[in-house]
């Protein structure tokens, strides 16, 4: 069987790409679209390094077929920053030393942003369970959890300020 042509919105841009029918969304992002920020750590949905947001839903892109992306919206790590302006989650990961090797970091940042989009004021317990599908072998998670809690606090403050000024 030949390749399929898929149209999808990726990080806000309309994109078309070719894919093998058996290819995963992760393969298509990395190999067809050159978006190598999403990583393959296991290929079985256990490590979360390939986490993306598909139509508002956090998924492991290694468990989604590329063909399933047809007509849908996909947000990857490459779309988290606004131009050269880092998202508060990204900035807090840097300020808090929440990465060492950095390989799991894109997945953690996409997942953490997804959490804060849903729940602006998570407890430590909620952060830990939300991120339980993302493996990090370097940090012991301590600084990651602190970075996410700090980013949440900062985002809440910004939202409040905006509300006041509006």
């Amino acid at each position: 069987m030949g390749k399929m042509m898929i149209s999808a919105t990726i990080n806000g841009d309309a994109q078309q790409f070719l894919c093998d029918p058996a290819a995963t969304l992760l393969d298509a992002l990395r190999d067809e679209l050159g978006l190598t920020g999403s990583k393959e750590g296991c290929g079985s949905g256990d490590c979360g390094a390939c986490t993306v947001v598909l139509d508002g839903q956090m998924v492991c892109s290694c468990l989604v077929l590329a063909a399933e992306a047809e007509g849908r919206k996909i947000a990857t790590i490459e779309g988290v920053a606004e131009g050269s302006e880092l998202h508060p989650v990204q900035r807090k990961f840097l300020e808090k030393g929440a990465l060492q090797c950095g390989f799991c970091t894109p997945g953690f940042i996409v997942a953490s942003k997804a959490l804060l989009d849903h729940n602006p004021d998570p407890s430590e317990h909620e952060v830990r369970y939300w991120l339980a599908g993302n493996l990090c072998r370097c940090t012991g998670y301590d600084k990651i959890v602190r970075a996410v809690l700090d980013a949440a606090a900062e985002l809440r403050q910004e939202t409040t300020t905006q509300r006041v000024s509006a």
Partner: protein, 760 residues
């Protein structure tokens, strides 16, 4: 950052060292731009696949590659026959040595396969799908041989022998027959048997731990490109680009100058990326196909064919006086090193008692081979396995004598000047300070709830120095470019920039750090042994000092004065005499005119860093055991460590926390499991259960900063020590929670529950 500590009590003299700036490679890593092993693409690149043995032990009778070669899109198929047949040759590799023939045969089996997952053939094709399909078309005829998986099986009389030419080393006489025991190594002093016989209190036991994987999230990957003139490029994620160069050159008979290895970002290593698996195979595929070739492991490949740390069985007896003084220790341990001789036996034996002053001891280690993946270094290789039994026994003695578990360790702790087991006096070590800090920490006196227990354990790792090269170049604007050959596995670029900035008395942001390929900088030993911030850092500091000397000389030329009449202060040269006295020249001012004062301003330092000191840690662990299931939760955890001077405290704490988490995984969840056919039963993250975020509490850290006098800023290694104490700390916590000792790791719910039920 999250521990009570008096900041004013240390590093008063530094402006940059001890601060927590953002790492220079940080933005690339939080935006997904950083290029790791499988992210690199070469023009015209082919995709490779490796066929791996389904048998743990078999002779290869024949390999028929014709069907694979005939598949459209296949550009090369290689087997062991495509590799030079090498005589046995030992090469030094940093964290241990290696036999080139064994390393080559581990990359690609020649006559025999030695474990489930051993590579037997490889394919390069125009797509990964075609490569996989072609690999499946290769027909291998095996003569399946009986296999051994455990120490008892491997050492049983008449056991199948992995290597017919392997005779146990280290015995008084060479054995008459080959066996699976590669090495016996004994270290000791005094009269341990007599001391134990005369002791007031004696405890003993047999302890075990399973083989565990380093568990880096990035699978091994590389791209190799062989050109018709014999020059080779390799892009790979590893702990040592020079290690890859050395091994590929030796395995394939290529000049080192013809192999240029570019280090990509590394997605974790922990010792497991100190070996080659794919690179020589990718080079041979590229040579045969004429195109660049990418090889990458799947997660199952990573588990089956790369690095676990050896499992261990240890028999130990410890004797003590009534006051808790340890009078004698005898320990015999066996490391299960997998398909090739391991490197953990020496270091395990040397580490076992290195944090205590024991007058009478004998530690005997055996390196035992079996039909599982050849083991690799894992963070403080060998030390967790041998210190675990020691820390459990000390805890039992404390309980028997009614002593506080920290007090008994303080009584026996190795201190500066104490003569170690090799007859050398200890330097400025900080174990006693760690024990004091642990005792003073609020965690240690916090109340415990029902079903909870608190465990203490100490540990140590020798750390290392070794060869490193660094260059420092000034831009024409005076900005500073530091180049090293040490892969940055956890933030060392930040540490290099900070030490350079501190030496030059300039801002951290004025310094940028590059990790160069092997053709662009002189040799550095791999990143391992907790050596990089110490040894490569020393090279960076000395190169910066040369830059200062050069800048002073250039300023002296510009001012027409003697260099002795200049002074370096605040990142500038100050004039002390002549008509320019009182004025100064910045780095930028001197660099802009460097062409007129002698040429570009650069320095290179190549050194063999001496004077490294061991690190020490004390961990406090609270566990809660569910009486209905035997499930163990870690409810509170504190890591205290002698870190020397912490250059970047965030990354020092990160090492302490990450090492503790890995050790907790080893103690509670992780282990290699094989079926009866010798195939790994849990080669994936679902069944090989590493700690996840919801498994752990915050991990509190206390940095005890006792500087190393042999380093300009007092650096000791920090990365490896923190995986050593958790095995004992968790086991001691569980034993105090349930009132009895479980000797075998991991402390899985079924094991703990059975122990609580009084079953064996």
């Amino acid at each position: 950052m999250n521990a009570p500590q008096d900041k004013a009590s240390f590093k008063p003299a530094y402006d940059v060292v001890g601060t927590r700036p953002v790492r220079p490679d940080g933005v690339e890593k939080v935006t997904g731009k950083a290029i790791y092993g499988t992210d690199h693409v070469a023009a015209g690149m082919l995709h490779g696949a490796i066929l791996r043995s389904p048998h743990p032990h078999a002779r290869i009778r024949s390999i028929d590659t014709r069907k694979a070669e005939a598949l459209p899109g296949v550009k090369a198929v290689v087997t062991g026959a495509d590799f030079p047949s090498l005589a046995s040759l030992e090469v030094s590799l940093g964290e241990g040595s290696g036999n080139i023939a064994a390393i080559s045969r581990n990359c690609m089996a020649h006559e025999k396969v030695l474990y489930d997952g051993h590579a037997v053939a490889a394919v390069a094709a125009t797509s990964a799908v075609i490569a996989e399909e072609a690999a499946a078309l290769i027909e291998v005829e095996y003569e399946v041989l009986p296999h051994v998986l455990t120490i008892d099986e491997a050492l049983a009389p008449g056991a199948p022998v992995l290597h017919e030419d392997m005779f146990t080393k280290g015995l008084p006489e060479k054995p008459a027959e080959p066996s699976n025991a590669a090495l016996c190594f004994t270290v000791g002093r005094g009269e341990p048997d007599a001391a134990i016989a005369a002791a007031h209190t004696v405890v003993s036991g047999r302890y075990s731990a399973l083989a565990v994987h380093q568990g880096y999230i990035e699978p091994h990957a590389c791209v190799a490109s062989y050109n018709a003139d014999g020059q080779v490029q390799v892009w790979a994620s590893s702990q040592g680009a020079f290690m890859i160069r050395t091994l590929c050159a030796s395995i394939l008979g290529i000049s080192q100058a013809d192999i240029r290895v570019t280090p990509l970002e590394i997605g974790g290593g922990f010792g497991g990326k100190t070996k080659v698996y794919l690179e020589p195979v990718a080079i041979v595929l590229s040579r045969k196909s004429g195109r660049p070739v990418r090889l990458a492991m799947s997660r199952a490949d990573v588990f089956r064919a790369s690095g676990p740390a050896p499992g261990v069985v240890a028999d130990i007896t410890v004797g003590a006086d009534a006051d808790g003084t340890i009078t004698g220790v005898v320990m015999e341990f066996k490391m299960l090193s997998g398909a090739n001789p391991g490197n953990d036996t020496h270091s395990g034996a040397m580490s076992a008692l290195a944090h205590y002053n024991v007058a009478n001891c004998r530690v005997t280690g055996w390196d035992v081979l079996c039909n599982t993946a050849a083991t690799a270094a894992y963070r403080a290789p060998g030390a967790p396995q041998t210190i675990f039994p020691v820390e459990c026994c000390i805890d039992e003695i404390a309980q028997k004598l009614g002593l506080d578990p920290i007090d008994i360790r303080l009584k026996n702790a190795a201190r500066p000047g104490d003569v170690g087991i090799m007859g050398m006096p200890a330097g400025e070590i900080g174990y006693a300070e760690c024990l004091e800090a642990a005792k003073a920490h609020p965690h240690y006196s916090a109340p415990l709830g029902p079903n909870q227990g608190r465990g203490i354990a100490g540990g140590t790792w020798g750390n290392y120095g070794g060869p490193s090269t660094a260059t420092v170049n000034l831009g024409e604007d005076g900005s500073v470019l530091v180049t090293t050959g040490s892969p940055d596995i956890g933030g060392s670029r930040a540490a290099m920039a900070m030490m350079a900035a501190e030496t030059l008395e300039i801002a951290y942001e004025q310094v940028r750090v590059t990790i160069a390929d092997t053709s662009s900088i002189g040799f550095s030993m791999l990143t391992g042994g907790s050596r990089t911030t110490f040894a490569t850092g020393k090279a960076v500091i000395l190169a910066c000092e040369e830059i200062i000397a050069t800048l002073r000389a250039r300023a002296a030329v510009m001012w027409s004065i003697d260099v002795s009449q200049t002074e370096w202060r605040g990142g500038a040269v100050h004039c002390l005499s002549g008509d320019k006295a009182g004025t100064s020249l910045t780095m930028g001012q001197i660099a802009a005119k460097a062409g007129f004062s002698g040429g570009p301003i650069a320095a290179e330092v190549a050194l063999n860093a001496q004077g490294f000191l061991p690190g020490f840690g004390v961990h406090i662990c609270d566990t809660e055991v569910d009486p209905e299931t035997g499930h163990v939760s870690v409810t509170r955890y504190t890591v205290v460590q002698d870190v020397g001077t912490a250059i970047h405290p965030d990354y020092v704490e990160g090492q302490m926390q990450g090492g503790a988490a890995q050790g907790i995984g080893w103690a509670l969840n992780e282990g290699y499991v094989y079926d009866k056919a010798g195939r790994m039963d849990n080669p994936g993250f679902l069944d090989y259960r590493m700690p996840v975020c919801s498994d752990l509490p915050m991990i509190d850290t206390v940095m005890v900063e006792k500087p190393n006098p042999a380093h300009p800023f007092g650096v000791k290694g920090v990365g490896e020590v923190p995986i050593v104490p958790p095995l004992g700390a968790v086991a001691n916590a569980v034993s105090r929670a349930i009132g009895l000792r479980v000797h075998d790791l991991p402390l899985t719910p079924d094991r703990v529950y059975a122990a609580m039920q009084g079953k064996s």
